[in-house]
Symmetry: C2
Subunit: 498 residues, 2 copies
Amino acid sequence: MQDRSNSKSPLDNGLSRRQILVAAASTAAATATLGAAAQTSSPRSAVDESVLDVVVIGAGLAGLTAARDLQLAGCESFVVLEGNDRVGGRTLNHHLQNGHYSEAGGQWVGPGQTAVYDLCRELNIGMHPTYLKGKSVYAAQDGSLYEEDSGGGFSVSPNMQRVVDKLNELAADVPSGAAWTAPKAKELDALSLADFIEPYNLEAMDLLSFDVGFRLTDTIHYQEVSLLYALSRINYAGSYEQLEGFTGGAQEQRIENGSQYISEVMAQQVGDRLHLSSPVRKITDWDSDTVSVHSDSGVYRARRVILAISPALCNKVQFQPELPQARRELQQGWPGYSPGRKTCHVYERPFWRDMGYNGWFFTIGGEVMWAYDNSPEDESIGVINAFIYPSMPNDPDVLAPMLANMYARAFGDEALRYTEFHDQDWGQEPWCPACVSPLTPGFLTSGLMPALRDPIGGLVWSGTETAEIWHTYMDGAVRSGHRAALEALHGLSQSQRV
Amino acid sequence: MQDRSNSKSPLDNGLSRRQILVAAASTAAATATLGAAAQTSSPRSAVDESVLDVVVIGAGLAGLTAARDLQLAGCESFVVLEGNDRVGGRTLNHHLQNGHYSEAGGQWVGPGQTAVYDLCRELNIGMHPTYLKGKSVYAAQDGSLYEEDSGGGFSVSPNMQRVVDKLNELAADVPSGAAWTAPKAKELDALSLADFIEPYNLEAMDLLSFDVGFRLTDTIHYQEVSLLYALSRINYAGSYEQLEGFTGGAQEQRIENGSQYISEVMAQQVGDRLHLSSPVRKITDWDSDTVSVHSDSGVYRARRVILAISPALCNKVQFQPELPQARRELQQGWPGYSPGRKTCHVYERPFWRDMGYNGWFFTIGGEVMWAYDNSPEDESIGVINAFIYPSMPNDPDVLAPMLANMYARAFGDEALRYTEFHDQDWGQEPWCPACVSPLTPGFLTSGLMPALRDPIGGLVWSGTETAEIWHTYMDGAVRSGHRAALEALHGLSQSQRV
């Protein structure tokens, strides 16, 4: 037991409290003349200590939640292996000057995302509302600008409302964690979202709103997204409005210190059991009592392995023996590349707010999907983030002023005087092949999906894709981590039965 | 694996979804020609199947949450033993005519109680706001009435605000789960809340507000409550206002179908592994690999035992060998009797609302601590619940009209025409010795507290009292259940090491 009870770091607040407890308990137990037999139920001398209880692969929200749960359970025999030189997975902060931050990956939370709320509560991490007040600006392809105050959210015309109502109605019968068991699953999965929408003959602005909404959620055009898959997401959110909305919706709040901070706090608790820059290349003997995990920082042997990475990333790992066919096909068919790109312009203050703008900017048919105000709550600096198409220039010296010029047309020349610029292209991340992974028509009902979640041999599958609700969200990642810890501990208890 | 995938009951919605998954996975695995070795990691033929993995004692929120987690982990080798002929522990519904309900035990949830929110989300159980709108009525000892509209909450005078501010300030340094480690813990624990308040010379109405607030939270007079203990609660709530308040506070919302429903849904999932009317009398060999639990429905042997009951109730169990001294003393010193009593008058409609009343009624220095509107959200009937002193008459034919007469003076003669009356006296419950258990001065710093939580031998301690945040609340119970499942599973994995 590592004793950090003297640590004053606010980062390990949760654990140090527990460690104090454990330390205090040991003392109390000693004074209570409790026999050693009562402290540890069995002698451990015969155990091969070089065999760990668990190896966790991936130090994103899923893997670190699982690791934290193992620790809370009393399990100290584990490591966490992370391919990157940082934690957080698909959450990442642009670290700005003077300790400011702007999220470069997943960033919002909203009602119903109770797992991530609970985790933040336990870690003593706060939240604040997304800034929404004011008018949005739309740039048409002919260069003309259009302003609208939609009251903090995407506007929905009566015609579009019919589409939304129908989606909500259909989604009610789709269990989000097992969409393939829904009535008419095959029919719904044969269609793309675009197929479904087409007969409604929506106006251009409705289509834009719809396209932007789903593109922000899924990164790809809704022509490529299975209707059944879209319904599974609407199901867990409660409604289309709650999935795509801000107030009362999945984009209602931001995490204090940025979403990556959640993982950073958990990483502090895991301590030196976390190994960064340790991509896993090969897993052998996963069907035996002791699995070997071959990483760039060495070979680790363990009785259970939690793979807290996306199914697509599992393809980068060589398995010996081969995985069962269904699992292999699941991984191979899983979307492995859905690029997302997020930029960040920093200003001395959020000047657009004074002019009644919310910082939202769209180019209709252009390359800025959505720019938005991502300033800190205290307005000490101004930040405009943007989701842009991967086709935009990579050179920041070209891209930064190009975007700033667009913002200047919308919000005035002050937009040209940015103090910092950052760009995050998720398509370039070696250990995050896709920021989200919307499923294409036919995949959910291919018969492969049951291989997504159920443990096989010494392997436990985690990662947001495996969550029953809020899959592909931070919340789903946390849920999948909790489940994985339980499954791994249960597996350990079984593996000793000889 | 019990297959309930064909069940249409809304009660097992969460699990049936998972069970569908599991069933589907088995099919897929079979078609994928996956070897049997990959399905179960070790042969189990040599295992003594009469020894369970886990016995859970107590079918309240803590025990059932733990049992549900065991199931989610894949563990099916457990039973839940409950002394009562019902589940829910300190949550209980008065079951009214026509399917209506009114909570007779713990009933409210509020911001920060993320564990119970998350559980309800997973179980598909909704919530609705507590009814607050209108004036409250106070009855003085001379019979005079006084009305006040405090906007849905207890009013706080400027003088009282000084007390509250000081409490909040002190609470910030008290870690709720380990209050004894706070700076000046001994000093703060030497005082009662009354000692702390006295120097402020509060007015009678302030004292009433304070007394009612803490009495509703703790059931006893604040003269008996340790200041340090009170601070530990304010700490987890965030502030005194959040602990005692309604909107934005711990009494903000009610559970749909009543709080007992949460346990009823989980009990459905546990199925026939739950044994009601099975009080546990004795636990033997808790320091060995196989613990024996002697209950009225038989002796169960298990490798781990989760005691999801209050420390006071543990005194009713005989342990062989004796528990360590610190644990014994902890249990013996734990408050075992803090009576709470809750009545319920049912009316055709919440008529008081029409007259601008919120249904709140207090007798200053009298026996009605607090009566309040507990009607269903749709106003289909009217319900007035009341916290009353145990000294009130037990005979419902005497008590019901006595209370109705008081309500009639406050809200008009319609209050006399109630259609049902119910009374729940927690002091009479055989397996709930105390609805809450506020700690008296000196207990938290007695050195016994570390024995509250840490597993010993095959025993894992659960129950809301063991939670690090929101102890004595439903939320704490759920948290303690999650932790207990993790600890039990970890213990199982260790107990096999020979």
